[in-house]
């Protein structure tokens, strides 16, 4: 089996200071070299992505006086996928006086990540969380408030304290608009150059340092090389490798994958979070899945028919022929078991042929009891907007017929490996937000991704990047530098290749098929056999892709299929690495469940003695087995325990 | 727009009240017309007062038409390519007819002045005999003139129903209550004005006045 990968040197240095965890960040900031404000103008920073991470970083760096060039593939920075986040953002403000603290948020996050995250990073995240809320309020983010005029909080993702700040069901939108507005202010001031509808297709490395990117203007098709003193990737997650996910259609791995191919380590690619309450697929036309707030599980009861292949309407199935399986298997947590457990249980009953709705991929989430108990008005007050969204999409009325839900891929914990400074192993290449691997370990807590994106962008990166730039400006390079020319022509060749294959299958059909393979073998439950099979399937499908794909049109125009082709080509390579990572990690932890590694009652079983490390993968040439570099994780403050929800 | 429109609305009110004097009797009505010409006396010489009103009105009309034209030209520039498929109204019906309504009103006013002020197009016009002029105008055999008056007055009604509400909004009205009130007032004003103006030709036609 080891022929799928080889093992290299472990990672020794993560740039984190040691000593007491509470003061590590302060000490790191103090030891960082500063850039003279007069010199900042002369330093150019490229930021790819305008989500919470990239938008806040570009705005802050622009404000600090650097010359910033910002890129996104949408038509406006405001449309980055952070806009879709619903639930909220965590912060250890302890406004509720319910015993919350920086330490508790730190503790919950390390534990929630199933002991696969770095303590120093997580502690810093919890510290900075407090400033995020202040910053956002000052910008005019309209968070929910109580009658006294103070900020409201709710509890989220199974924590005991109320530390989640929210703006109705549109928290991500409001936070992103705050960052977007700050960014637009810097654009108006001339500090940030904005390039919307530009897609990064290659990283430029000169003398071992990241010095620029190759981008394609998605309107004219023009390929250009953009040079800078440092490059920041904030390009989001790669959940779309599964084709169907809750991510936006354009979400991709291209920016980080291209960097990976140029030497940046890709860490923990197999950690994916699957969300249990999404609206199920309604047919083969389905193009993406929509998430519904997990809060629904507070009052809804999950069930399926006891008999396999029971196609009666929900109303015709008598009470004693229903299986409220979560309540049955997990009597103490019932319908409120954590995301991964709820998701896996749903898959299991559907695999037994007991799923409901089209294709049998769905379970009921029934509010009949709640309506009987609380009254329709109370249920409507609590969940009205979610019910409306559901009926808009499905055409069914959840007050009358039970909702159908099914798990869907939602978030990817893996990403480019970065050190404590958020710098990858390539000097000058920084990675922030969902695009990096840090902070969430094997599983992310609800409402913590928004927190991490803004922590990285507003507070962490602007400090650590300065330390790197203090040694700049780096020697000027021209567009005729061989490394620049090489990067550019490789992009051009790739585009020509796509356009010239002229086969008989569409890009989407390949993507859909790849998604099926991933969902089947690298989804909620993974086995050695399945993963090995998946790698074979992926390889042959990829070969077919490169010979049979049909990309219409030209390169020198708006060509949405050409864009997709590039993204899917990278997903193929990522998919293989995900399977290899999942295969090598012969334990279950967080979002990674290996069927071979479970307790007697079917719970995830970690193997801390063998796997308490970050798996950072190095690309060593196409077709060669990737090299694994391990970064050992030490837990000085929060001691590993096994979860149990029985 | 809103300011010139408001001046015009005030004038219309005054004009309607004047017109209603026709119900009081021939002498009174003619006297009223005469009084108009002595407006401001003895401070102002004969007809000066009336001319000041006329100038004020003309300025308002010109300002109103100029701003309406500017808006229309901007709208045209803002959408150089039209939709191939454009369904009926999605907002209010009155709102969509503002421009055409305005043009109808303009044509009407020109005709109307030539008709009842200068008498240019009036068959049996006599200066000073306003009462007779009006009665002759709406004689049953001249139904087409009456019809034109009616159509125009209704157009004025539509124009005002949206116009008044819109003017209030342009001047910053924003609360839900304010909006309800503005809508009600706009509707009331336009109905009162329309009814008031229409009552005259109606009365002449039915012989109530004559």
């Amino acid at each position: 089996m080891t022929n799928f990968w080889t093992e290299g040197e472990p990672i020794a240095d993560t740039a984190a200071p040691d000593g007491p965890v509470e003061t590590r960040w302060e000490r790191r900031q103090f030891s960082a070299k500063l850039v003279n404000p007069a010199n900042r103008r002369k330093l150019t920073v490229i930021v790819v992505g305008t989500g919470l991470a990239g938008g806040s970083a570009a705005a802050t760096l622009g404000e600090a006086g650097y010359h910033v060039k910002s890129y996104c593939y949408q038509d406006s920075p405001r449309r980055a996928h952070s806009i879709a986040a619903q639930g909220g953002i965590n912060a250890a403000k302890n406004y509720r006086n319910d015993g919350d603290s920086i330490y508790r948020l730190f503790y919950d996050t390390v534990k929630g990540g199933d002991f696969r995250a770095r303590e120093s990073n997580v502690y810093r995240l919890a510290q900075v969380s407090v400033n995020i809320i202040d910053q956002c309020v000052a910008q005019g983010v309209p968070f929910a408030r109580e009658y006294g005029g103070l900020l409201d909080n709710r509890s989220f993702g199974g924590t005991q304290v109320s530390r989640t700040f929210y703006a109705r069901g549109q928290t991500g939108q409001q936070l992103l608009l705050g960052a977007y507005q700050a960014l637009e202010r810097q654009i108006a001031a001339g500090n940030v150059e904005m390039h919307e509808r530009h897609e990064m297709l290659e990283l430029i490395i000169v003398d071992g340092k990241a010095r620029g990117i190759v981008v394609r203007d998605m309107v004219t098709g023009e390929i250009s090389t953009e040079l800078a003193d440092a490059v920041v990737l904030a390009s989001g997650g790669y959940g779309n490798v599964f084709f169907l996910s809750t991510n936006a259609k354009g979400c991709n791995v291209t920016a980080t994958w291209r960097a990976h191919r140029k030497g940046a380590y890709f860490a923990n690619p197999c950690y994916t979070q699957i969300h249990p309450t999404c609206i199920p697929e309604s047919g083969s036309h389905q193009s993406k899945l929509t998430l519904m707030s997990e809060s629904l599980r507070n009052d809804g009861r999950v069930w399926v028919p006891k008999k396999a292949g029971d196609h009666r309407d929900a109303a015709d199935i008598p009470e004693d022929e229903r299986d409220y399986y979560l309540e049955r298997i997990y009597p103490s947590f019932g319908n409120l078991v954590p995301r991964d457990i709820a998701s896996r249980a749903a898959k299991n009953v559907c695999d037994e042929g007991r799923g409901v709705g089209p294709g049998g991929l769905g379970v009921y989430l029934d509010f009949a009891d709640a309506i009987a108990r609380l009254g329709r008005a109370a249920v409507e007050a609590k969940y009205g907007n979610l019910f409306e969204m559901y009926s808009r999409i499905t055409g069914e009325d959840p007050y009358v017929t039970p909702m159908r839900i099914y798990p869907a891929v939602h978030y990817t914990m893996g990403g480019l490996w970065v050190d404590y400074d958020l710098q990858s192993n390539i000097p000058g290449l920084f990675v922030i937000g969902e695009a990096n691997f840090s902070d969430h370990g094997a599983n992310r807590l609800g409402a913590s991704a928004l927190m991490q994106g803004l922590a990285d962008g507003y507070f962490v990166l602007p400090n650590t990047l300065g330390n790197y730039l203090a040694a700049g400006p780096y020697p000027k390079i021209g567009v005729d530098h061989p490394a620049v020319v090489e990067a550019r022509s490789s992009v051009e060749q790739r585009i020509q290749k796509f356009l010239s294959i002229n086969g008989d299958r569409t890009v989407d059909s390949f993507h859909r098929e790849l998604g099926h393979i991933m969902w089947e073998y690298c989804g909620m439950e993974r086995t050695e056999e399945g993963l090995t099979k998946a790698i074979g399937l992926i390889r042959s499908l990829r070969e077919e892709f490169w010979t049979r794909v049909k990309v219409p049109g030209r390169g020198e125009e708006l060509n949405q299929n050409l864009e997709k082709a590039g993204r899917v080509a990278d997903f193929f390579e990522l998919a293989e690495l995900m399977c290899i990572d999942a295969l090598h990690r012969a334990e279950s932890c967080g979002g990674h469940f290996r069927a071979e590694s479970q307790t007697e009652d079917g719970e995830a079983l970690r193997h801390d003695d063998e796997f308490a490390y970050v798996a950072a993968w190095e690309h060593v040439g196409f077709g060669s087995a990737p090299t694994l570099h391990k970064e050992d994780l030490n837990f000085e403050y929060v001691h590993p325990t096994q979860r149990s929800y029985k | 727009m809103a300011v010139s429109g408001a001046v015009l609305v005030l004038y219309l009110f005054a004009h309607m009240i004047g017109n209603l004097k026709i119900f009081v009797g021939q002498a009174d009505f003619d006297h009223y017309a005469h009084w108009l010409r002595e407006l401001g006396a003895p401070v102002l010489p004969h007809q000066w007062g009336l001319w000041m009103v006329r100038i004020g009105l003309t300025v308002a009309v010109i300002a109103h038409i100029v701003s309406a034209t500017i808006l229309a030209v901007r709208a045209r520039k803002a959408r150089p390519v039209k939709y191939a498929h454009r369904p009926k109204v999605q907002g209010s019906y009155a709102a969509r007819t503002m421009r055409w309504g305005g043009v109808i009103i303009l044509l009407f006013v020109i005709y109307h002045i030539l008709d009842l002020t200068t008498g240019t197009v009036h068959p049996d016009f006599a200066h000073g005999e306003v009462y007779n002029n009006v009665v002759a105008d709406f004689a049953p055999e001249r139904w087409y003139v009456t019809l034109f008056y009616v159509v125009s007055v209704v157009a004025v009604g539509f124009h005002l129903r949206h116009g008044i509400w819109s003017a209030v909004r342009t001047l910053g009205q924003q609360s839900a209550r304010g909006q309800r009130i503005a809508r009600a007032v706009a509707l009331a004003v336009s109905v009162v004005l329309t009814a008031g103006f229409l009552s005259v030709p109606f009365a002449v036609m039915t012989g109530l006045v004559g």
Binding site: E63, Q74, D75, Q139, I187, G395 | H85, R169, Q179
Partner: protein, 247 residues
């Protein structure tokens, strides 16, 4: 379902463009409008035609990327719904549907149904923000905000910048979009210092960008997927009059 589509096809900004007819067959009523177009595009690609370009991203009604005139109505017949959230069950088998891009000088067509809405960003650049440099903020609880104001600000802030208001407005005016941002920031205590300068520069910016003037036609709010109410325009006017008279 089987449908007859007439779709605006335009190769690029310089092309004149025209309506082209397509028949689509076997569409599931559960498909979204964009998924229906996906199905058509898959077929066009295999037949060697150029697929129809249209903007979209989140497909859940929040990013504001999608949007097209469907039978002359921005985002189609369902109220308070973006194109991506419109489902085919709202159409009848055999219907013919006309699909056009947003039409406004400030939103030039890039290709087919894709337009450039950068003018919205320029309006925001003119003042649609609160100057709050990173790291200088006071504690979030330093200034309480009455719940009613916070809620009203939130409602206004839900605008997704889709441009349907402009597309529907007979004057091609961006007033509702601008009004929503002016109200969002103006309702919060943090937004007060820049309140006057903001409204003046944002109005100037929208005029400069080539949008038409608002005559309170009210069609914008009817198509707005987020139901941004018309009275925010009154609020903007009040702010504007106050700002210019105070200048």
């Amino acid at each position: 379902m089987n449908l007859k589509l007439r779709v605006w096809r335009q190769k690029g900004p310089e092309d004149k463009g025209r309506m082209v007819t397509y028949e689509v067959t076997d569409i599931s009523p559960d498909a979204s409008f964009l998924e229906m177009l996906d199905v058509l595009n898959e077929r066009l690609i295999l037949e060697g035609d150029d697929p129809i370009a249209f903007d979209h991203d989140c497909r859940e009604g929040i990013c504001g990327m999608c949007g097209m005139m469907i039978n002359g109505v921005a985002h189609g017949p369902e109220r308070a719904t973006t194109t991506c959230q419109l489902h085919m069950r709202h159409f009848k088998d055999g219907d013919s549907i006309d699909i056009e891009p947003w039409r406004a000088a400030a939103f030039p067509v890039i290709k087919d149904l894709v337009v450039n809405r950068g003018a919205f960003d320029s309006i925001i650049q003119a003042g649609g923000y609160i100057t709050a440099p990173t790291g200088t903020a006071p504690d979030a609880h330093a200034t309480p905000v009455p719940k009613a104001d916070a809620d009203a600000a939130f409602e206004a802030a839900t605008c997704i910048g889709c441009g349907a208001c402009v597309a529907a407005c007979p004057n091609g005016s961006s007033m509702l979009f601008t009004a929503a941002k002016v109200a969002h920031l103006g309702l919060l205590p943090q937004g007060q210092p820049e309140r006057s300068s903001r409204v003046i520069s944002m109005i100037e910016a929208q005029d400069e960008a080539g949008f038409g003037g608002c005559t309170n036609a009210g069609e914008c709010t009817t198509v707005c997927p987020k139901g941004i109410p018309l009275n925010l325009i009154g609020r903007l006017n009040a702010d504007y009059l106050k700002a210019v008279s105070g200048r």
